[in-house]
């Protein structure tokens, strides 16, 4: 069954038809060519496919594309504005918060949602917030440092 959907992705409106069973992660990667959203485990565990729906982090492998109809979607490609990296992206760069880079988009999308509700988190709170994001390189220390730096940059910017 084909469904008509209209979604805003990274500020740009897309209208098209999707099969009911199309996962949002596949729609973003295959139909919109936004391959920054990675598919890791495809079983809602690893968090590599994390994006924002109306500002809230979700694992896009566990959502149907048709459910995003009428929603505002932000993927990692939408973090930077006017060619300037988001403070989260800058911080991951500066603190070397990535090794192979596969988990990075999901890490940054979860972390940006988390900092909205907890702008000044402790190290422990950051580690708890990353419960649903796996780094198979086990590079968690630098990921946590990156998020600490991002929190600092973002609170100074306000």
């Amino acid at each position: 069954m084909a469904n008509k959907i209209s979604v805003t992705v990274n500020g740009k409106q897309y209208t098209g038809e999707v099969e009911s069973r199309t996962l949002l992660s596949d729609y973003l990667r295959e139909d919109l060519s936004l391959t920054g959203t990675h598919i890791g485990c495809d079983t809602s565990s690893c968090g590599a496919c994390t994006i924002h729906i109306d500002g809230k982090a979700v694992k896009s492998c566990t959502m149907l594309a048709v459910q995003a109809d009428g929603c505002e979607v932000t993927t990692v490609e939408g973090l930077a504005t006017n060619g300037n990296l988001h403070p989260m992206q800058e911080s991951f760069k500066e603190e070397h918060g990535l090794q192979c880079g596969f988990c990075t988009p999901g890490m940054m999308m979860t972390a940006t949602d988390f900092l909205k509700t907890n702008p000044n988190p402790s190290e422990q709170e950051i580690r708890e917030a990353l419960e649903g994001n796996f780094c198979r390189c086990t590079g968690y220390h630098n990921i946590v440092r990156s998020i600490q730096l991002a929190a600092k940059k973002m609170s100074e910017a306000v």
Binding site: S20, R21, D26, T43, K56, A57, L64, G132
Partner: protein, 280 residues
Amino acid sequence: MIPNSFDYKKATSVDEAISLLGDDVQILGGGHSLIPTLKLRLNAPGTLVDISKIESLKVIRDNENSITIGGGATHASIAADAALSEHAPMMTQAAKEIGDIQVRNFGTIGGSMAHADPAADWPAVLLACDANVVIQGKGGKREVDIDQFFKGFYETALADGEIITAVRIPKMASNRHSVYVKFKQPASRFAIVGCAVGIEMEGGVVKSARIGMTGVGESAYRAMNVEKALVGQALTAESIEAAVKNVTEGAEVMSDHYASQKYRTHLAHVYVKRALKMLM
């Protein structure tokens, strides 16, 4: 992983959703239990009726003696609700421990209850809270006592064509204390063993107790023999040790690659003791 084909219908009200239910139709709430089963092709309904956009199902209402949580309320919205935190703190505590940020943002309490995963957190917590499940179908509304809700492995009192519209949580009196503890599977964060305790104290002894266990048997259950053994006792290391002896009695303790039957039985004892000691 790609699910089997199905038709998709979006409902804008509970009545519309109920009118769309029928043979080979399933309800899509937050999708965080359903979609994984579709992807693994353990489940292949002909039609999904999406109730996640029905605003009235998301409301958490503070009543005089109870709090009504809409079936479509997400775990995150439950965790953030001020009335629940004041009058039913175990709900807040458990909501924060479900899954992860992403799962809590979209998974719903109604979906979790209808799915009735034997390792889910809500079943144990709602048993200990003495909740009611509000159900609506073509024949009207009914309320099911939580003690009558779980019927077996992924089985509940929910009939075909019915939707969980809310759960009703009684407000806790000041002499009631509660806690939820779990040993979680590190990837899924489901409970390998979870234990929810609600006790009522009077004159330094336990007046009544409700203990919900999850992850242990084929469905969540109340450890009634432990509850009974605690009544009339002061909570001490000795009274707890004596009371929890048969915590898995009546449950068919599961065995899987996370935990053998023996290990799970051991964990059930450890966690019920741990929960009770936290209330000493």
